[in-house]
């Protein structure tokens, strides 16, 4: 299969302008003749739905939530990057571009990243106009902070609720279009399948989560903005409902899945407290600005932290990375924590935790300053753990947070299935092997507000779309397939709940395809996952029926897809014989334990083609060229 990424040529600064100038346009009067399905109402989906409706397209938006305001974009705390250079500290589009390519460990496309940095400035303007209450200085101008180890202050924020405020901005824009009748919004509808007719994406199958009705919806193009797949690990910082179903079903219908093994493990999460744990909670990484991370020097030290003298503590990040110290990037800080815990020096229940200690900062700055900076986070920590972080060091441990992989898309954000576009975390294109802090919000909104409105027009203007309807053989078959799958799940009548399978799968993935991977472990996972999948289809129990609100059934359907998708992740991790960003293969490290990239052999995007459940998928490679940023080893020492 030929992968055509549709990258424009010429100087990188002019590529997006040139591309936009070359894209064909749809006449304003003709836009209403085109219909678009948008699945997902997070930052990417809501911004795309609203903007496409403003342009005049007929939009149908779908969400599995009860309202379009609940997608997990809402939980982002820290902020959104933009190359405004309001602080006069040397930021520029070029610098944001450079930081993002380097931070992604040279596994992202230069052209896409440059465009992202370019439109970042428009996002802030748009959000301000919508009434997003960004933090302001006393003079009334927008405030910035430095975030995620960046050397400039380019992060815009709204207290610790930036994701919420940006999402509400997009949601309100969407609600306006719903009120005007330009968007038909479908709440509580979960996508079950993609309908492909004559090689083009022409519709979706949904299940109504209240009535259980399964039906098809047809359109001229389908946009998936359905987020990431971090919940394949069961425990992650994702919301409970986040799942891979929409993108994975599209994958089974022919869309290539790119770099599924690239997962981001966030270093500062609250450790697991028991077997009943349902999710992990992120503590903003801004805490690392003042907190010092340490573990006892000796294995199995059971003393309480205040009884451990300085001389018996190992501030391992400061020791190993003197220039970045506690502010080392996420992938590096996470791996270092795992290392010390593997050595048996972890703290707290099960030894899976390290201390994040504010006592020095409190001594230096006083409790009040620390409370002003982190008061709400300290409160949240205490609410969850019952411990007061002003008195006792916090305990933190890394957790799955974001997935850089996703459906393969070209420069137009279109997958290899014509008419299927993929936005936000659901695609793979901008973050390479590791995402920088405050860049997820930026990408979701860039895709939805400023990229898809142009590129989808180019697709429609090419013509060739024939009329389709729900009576077509493909649509009827897809509905039948979905109904069949639901019936099968309900009729197994075994003993184990969907959650119990999900937990077991998550454990396999965390142990074998988590923070560190190796060949033997991945091969073991590739044996155990199919076994677990087999048991799932024989021993699952889903109470209730398909024609009612049935949360066990919803979960069962999602877990069924995770059980297939997990295998794909392991295949990807196994073929990538190098370490890069969030993908750390133990066999490929330097003498002092740092990730060892192999640009000679692995400077490519791994795009996988589905060949059948349980069959080895086919690998297609899109090679990456770096003309503007020199390939270099990331060093934070």
């Amino acid at each position: 299969m030929e992968l055509n990424s549709a990258l424009p040529g010429g100087p990188i600064q002019q590529r997006w302008d040139k591309h936009r100038a070359e894209l064909k346009l749809v006449n304003p009067a003709n836009k209403r003749k085109f219909s678009v399905i948008v699945v997902g109402t997070g930052l990417a989906g809501a911004s795309a739905s609203a903007t496409l409706a403003e342009l005049g397209y007929n939009v149908q938006a779908f969400t599995y939530h009860d309202s379009a305001r609940r997608a997990h974009s809402i939980a982002a705390q820290g902020g959104i990057n933009a190359a405004k250079n309001y602080q006069n500290d040397g930021d520029s589009v070029w610098r944001l571009f450079y930081d993002t390519v380097k931070g992604g460990d040279f596994r992202a496309r230069e052209s896409n990243v440059y465009r992202l940095a370019q439109v970042s400035v428009n996002i802030i303007d748009q959000c301000v106009a919508q009434g997003v209450p960004f933090a302001r200085e006393y003079g009334g101008y927008l405030s910035n902070r430095s975030f995620g180890g960046a050397q400039v202050s380019r992060t815009f924020y709204a207290r610790g609720q930036t994701g919420q405020q940006l999402l509400l901005g997009a949601y309100q824009a969407l609600m306006r279009q719903v009120g005007l009748g330009k968007v038909k919004l479908h709440n509580k509808q979960e996508m079950m399948d993609l309908i492909v007719i004559d090689g083009r994406a022409r519709g979706i199958v949904t299940r109504d989560m209240v009535t259980g009705v399964v039906r098809s919806h047809m359109a001229d193009a389908v946009i998936l903005a359905t987020g990431g797949y971090g919940n394949v690990f069961y425990l992650s910082t994702n919301a409970k409902a986040c799942n891979v179903t929409a993108t994975y079903r599209a994958h089974k219908r022919g869309a290539l899945f790119a770099n599924p093994c690239y997962t981001q493990i966030h270093p500062t999460c609250i450790p697991q407290s028991g077997d009943y744990q349902s999710k992990l909670t992120l503590m903003s990484e801004s805490l690392r600005n003042d907190g010092r991370i340490w573990v006892p020097k000796s294995k199995g030290d059971q003393r309480s932290p205040d009884q451990i003298p300085e001389s018996d503590r190992d501030y391992y990040l400061e020791r190993k990375y003197p220039s970045f110290g506690n502010l080392s990037p996420r992938d590096i800080a996470s791996r270092a924590a795992k290392e010390v815990c593997d050595e048996g020096r972890g703290v707290g229940p099960g030894g899976l935790g390290v201390y994040l200690d504010f006592s020095d900062a409190i001594r230096r700055l006083g409790e009040k300053v620390i409370a002003d900076r982190y008061g709400n986070l300290f409160e949240m920590y205490e609410r969850i753990t019952g411990e007061n972080p002003y008195k006792v060091p916090m305990r933190i441990y890394p957790a799955v947070h974001y997935t850089m992989g996703g459906l393969w898309v070209d420069y137009n954000l279109m997958s290899n299935v014509p008419g299927l576009f993929v936005l936000g975390e659901a695609n793979f294109s901008d973050h390479g092997a590791n995402r920088l802090g405050a860049s997820a919000l930026m990408q979701g909104l860039a895709d939805g507000y400023f990229v898809i409105p142009y590129t989808i027009g180019g697709y429609f203007a090419q013509g060739g779309l024939t009329a389709v309807n729900a009576e077509s053989a493909e649509a009827r078959q897809a509905v039948k397939d979905a109904e069949q799958k639901i019936q099968t799940l309900l009729s197994i009548g075994g003993k184990r709940s969907p959650t119990s399978f999900h937990r077991e799968l998550g454990k396999i993935m965390w142990d074998k395809c988590g923070m560190a991977r190796n060949e033997a472990g991945l091969k073991e996972a590739l044996t155990r996952i199919p076994e677990l999948r087999e048991e799932f289809w024989q021993n699952l129990v889903v109470p209730g029926t398909g024609t009612e609100l049935n949360q066990s059934l919803e979960l069962g359907l999602r877990v069924a897809d995770f059980l297939e998708f997990a295998e794909l992740m392991c295949y990807d991790a196994l073929q990538r014989n190098e370490s890069c960003g969030g993908h750390f293969r133990e066999e490929y490290q330097t003498e002092d334990g740092e990730a060892k990239r192999n640009d000679e052999d692995y400077c490519y995007v791994a795009a996988w083609e589905h060949t059948g459940v349980g069959k080895t998928p086919t690998l297609h490679k899109e090679s990456l060229t770096f003309e503007n940023v020199q390939l270099a080893t990331r060093s934070y020492k």
Partner: protein, 249 residues
């Protein structure tokens, strides 16, 4: 700890519904309230019974999806805490806990603890936005907004749309929810152009949906997990009256 739970069970919108009693053993104090319900549901599934349906998603207190009345209080006994952030250390061995859905005419029960809050979205559709198309915006810093105004806007915008205010109100009024959005946008210069029509249209929609009126109990403010102030209701009333009388808010 061991607990006795009395949970509202209702098979569907047309079912009468009733409280059913469940005993649950060995609850850890570190569990969240929803994790305790997860454990109960796994036990119910193992016994071949239908698990309790309840809404939830982020489990970090920000998405606004979860909501249940716990011992008569929306989101339970802790102030400024959503049900998902409530932990079992708040309870003690032997406690009896009553768990019910939000109860309001405008929030019909779909199943057990799950209600339909579509009415909130329809209120927002009537004007809870600034009419600006993508691409219209000028540079963000061309419009300075004083820090107190920006802070006040943020105080109101922190609403998570969970519906606890409605559940707490003896009149099932959605005044705090509606006022929070009106107050957010009225605090900002960008929100002035549509200020009058916004207040009028959103309040009318609130009435159409079947929410009650405010009689100053302030239960909404006490139940709000984000601590939104009832002052915004006063501001909304002023904008509404001015607008209804044909003036400018």
């Amino acid at each position: 700890m061991n607990l006795r739970l009395h949970i509202w069970r209702q098979a569907g919108p047309d079912d009468m519904g009733m409280l059913k009693t469940y005993d649950i053993a060995n609850v850890s104090e570190h569990m969240s309230f929803l994790e305790m319900l997860d454990v109960l549901n796994e036990e119910l599934i193992a016994k071949g019974e239908n698990p309790v349906a309840f809404d939830h998603d982020c489990r970090e207190g920000i998405c606004g999806t979860c909501g249940m009345v716990i011992n008569g209080r929306p989101h339970g006994p802790l102030a400024r805490t959503t049900a998902c952030q409530l932990h079992m250390r708040t309870f003690k061995d032997g406690d009896e806990i009553y768990i019910e859905p939000w109860r309001a005419k405008a929030f019909p029960v779909l199943r057990d603890l799950v209600v339909d809050r579509g009415s909130f979205d329809r209120i927002i559709q009537k004007g809870g936005f600034i009419s600006v198309n993508t691409g219209n915006a000028q540079d963000g810093n061309t419009l300075p907004i004083g820090k107190p105004d920006a802070d006040r806007a943020m105080d109101a915008a922190a609403c998570i749309g969970c519906g606890a205010c409605v559940a707490a109100c003896p009149n099932s009024s959605a005044m705090l929810f509606t006022a929070a959005k009106i107050g957010h946008l009225a605090s900002l210069p960008q929100g002035q152009a549509e200020r009058s029509s916004r207040a009028l249209d959103m309040v009318l929609q609130m009435d159409t949906e079947g929410f009650g009126a405010c009689t100053n109990h302030y239960e909404c403010e006490a139940a709000c997990p984000k601590g939104i102030s009832a002052e915004f209701i006063a501001q909304m009333n002023r904008d509404f009256v001015a607008s209804a009388l044909g003036g400018k808010a």
